[in-house]
Symmetry: C2
């Protein structure tokens, strides 16, 4: 399929040549004499080209063999494009409404051709910073997570298929290792990569590195991340991996996908919503105090979990006689026992999600990669104040996560720390 037999980074000229010689791409664009091409990747991780013709459009994404992070060069396998393509196709099959279509994949070139998410689609994180409400967000994200996680878990798949898939995604180990390092390790030790709003949070960062109970908890989360193949997770489901309009929600960039704990995805999304919440005071001004918007974020938080819970259990009920082998219908054969196991499953998943969510929050404040929600607050003292609240909330949740019974308790706790 490819005109290149081995990897070479794209430039505009080669991109046009590549598209012309690839029918699955050229057929979408029609006449290719009049292509508009725009490179929109940040250039640090992947090339991302938007290609528009009078009769069609698409995105070409190419993985580069490194991640450049805060000026540092960090080698990273371009094979991640393969796992991203497989995950996009699998999740797209399970939830087509919220995953962009893949038109073409070229393993040699680490190149994915996929649907262009045309304006007004923007990255959710940018919308949250701008204070824009998305009325369908909770519903759509709950739908996406319920479908992708349920159908790739042992609640729906056989153990034969599950082990086959687990083995395949073990190949994405380099991306898993990146997560292990930047989420579960670096923030809890002295690392050249860590940074934080300094000097304001110097003692807060030090306290994280010296908190034995926090280290005990993060060890358990890290072990679960490394050992537990529960479902095909996105692996990086923060608010920068979601593109939105008022009525569309599209999940992109699953290059970290592997068979891992479901709570890692749910926690990533909820944790990043909470970061957005605590950043709002830094974006407030005379025209907009962001108070109403903060309430909206908390509603999205509650709705996302509650709708996810409802949809996930509905899928379980609908498929209780299906191919899944975790809960055989001849064993879980009465309403009482089914309710009992579902309640326990969802309670454990809730606690896992809170644990992973708190880990994702902590690493965004004292680890290598920060979030624009906070970074865009120019006043360092104000930014540090927002970050400290988020950090304190996350530390509490990581330590006490198993005591929470409902998302309402989490929200109550957020409000306590915010007040």
């Amino acid at each position: 399929m490819s005109i290149f037999n081995e990897f070479r980074p794209l430039d505009e000229k080669y991109l046009i040549e590549y598209i012309k010689s690839t029918p699955s791409l050229s057929s979408l664009l029609g006449d290719s004499t009049n292509l508009q091409i725009k490179e929109v990747g940040d250039g640090n991780l992947n090339f991302v080209y938007i290609v528009v013709s009078p009769s069609g459009s698409l995105v070409i994404k190419q993985a580069l063999p490194y991640i450049r992070c805060i000026g540092e060069s960090w080698p990273m396998t371009k094979e991640r494009a393969y796992f991203e393509a497989v995950a996009l196709k699998e999740h797209g099959h399970l939830c087509p409404a919220h995953v962009p279509e893949v038109y073409h994949f070229d393993r040699n070139m680490s190149l994915i051709g996929m649907r262009y998410l045309e304006p007004p689609h923007i990255i959710l994180r940018k919308g949250l910073i701008a204070g824009v409400e998305y009325p369908m967000l909770a519903e759509h994200m709950a739908e996406y997570m319920a479908h992708t996680l349920f159908y790739t878990s042992l609640l729906y798949t056989t153990t034969t298929e599950h082990k086959r898939q687990v083995a395949e995604f073990c190949g994405n180990v380099e991306l898993c290792r990146l997560t292990e390092q930047v989420v579960f390790s670096d923030p809890y030790k002295v690392s050249e990569f860590n940074r934080w709003t300094s000097p304001h949070l110097d003692s807060d960062a030090k306290a994280v590195r010296e908190d034995n109970v926090l280290k005990l908890e993060v060890a358990q989360l890290k072990s679960m991340f490394c050992e537990r193949a529960q479902a095909l997770i996105h692996g990086d489901l923060h608010t920068g991996s979601v593109m939105v309009t008022q009525d569309s929600t599209q999940v992109i960039d699953p290059e970290f996908a592997f068979y891992g704990p479901m709570g890692f995805d749910i926690g990533a999304f909820l944790g990043n919503l909470i970061l957005a919440f605590f950043a709002q005071d830094g974006h407030a001004n005379q025209e907009n105090d962001r108070k109403a918007y903060k309430k909206w974020i908390l509603r999205v938080l509650a709705d996302t979990w509650n709708l996810f819970h409802k949809k996930f259990v509905s899928l379980w009920d609908e498929n209780k006689d299906g191919p899944g082998e975790a809960y055989l219908p001849h064993i879980y054969n009465n309403a009482d026992v089914l309710r009992l196991v579902q309640e326990k499953y969802m309670q454990d998943l809730f606690h896992d999600s809170l644990g992973f969510g708190s880990a994702k929050m902590i690493r965004r404040i004292v680890g290598v990669a920060h979030v624009e929600d906070f970074e865009s607050i120019i006043d360092a003292a104000k930014r540090a104040e927002c970050e400290r609240k988020a950090l304190n909330f996350a530390k509490t949740v990581m330590k006490e996560r198993k005591k929470y019974v409902s998302i309402d308790e989490v929200i109550w706790n957020i409000q306590q720390i915010d007040s």
Copy 2:
């Protein structure tokens, strides 16, 4: 290496031909004109030939493409021999004193050539039925489990190596599925394969099938078995997989090996010791009331766990600056935090072991495959009485396992049920 390019079941004539043409085997036997050959497998699962010459000896084990169980024919991949050979080599490398040496493996023929464990080695289960004490048993089994489990876990290996190994052993899915069915599923539902001492235990078996809380607990254990790649476990570590003399302990038959929860191995061994304990009353007679022997079994139970605990934590301490990536030395950098994480890890492992041990006990009383400890008790009423005590103990432990703090509490509970 093989004279056969594809699988064919051995017979004595072909076995001799095979050995003669295989230098790694023939060189161990020297003059092959005078071979003594004896088939000792039960013929249901594998061929096992003992081959002795004037100057050497070995065992040839060949996997057959089925398991015949209680007269039923049950197809089963002969590829299990591959995983058995890999596990024997890996565990043998980690604990050479307690794993027989592999001389030769032929994947086409599903054939392993290995050390012959000469008399007086007998299967531990038979020794326990005969009432023989083995003074080194606890020490040796603790050593075997500590070394094989520690060194194949993320406490010692990198996540790169771990994921590579996990992927490889995902291939042993058929044997995992057999365990899923006979340990975690069949005993809790109506199944043509289940059997029990009838009519004595009819209502006990029914109670297992109708116990919602038990079903809730076994679901969590099954999920852990299917999802959690903690270490390279033996996968079938009952007292029939151990050969002993007064000073030797050898673990054989790891054909169920895969990356699973450590507690499955520890629980299998402890659970089968407890089955041996509850069977003793059925073996008591006027010459030997077995009371002293029952105390010895309980001592082995306590010593095995306590010595395992000690050895495992010692290996952790010795290797805390080693290649393992679960607990990085720059994070777990003081005695307090190291003690905290080790205590939590060992407590969780203890609870997992009790859970899996109880599942292994229950399935041996109301599932398809029973143990000779009970089966050799001719008097059905007496057998049922022994089995009922074991079953009731196992049910209690499965439900309450997380409340136990020490093995002494478990033993106290055994004595309560036994009195």
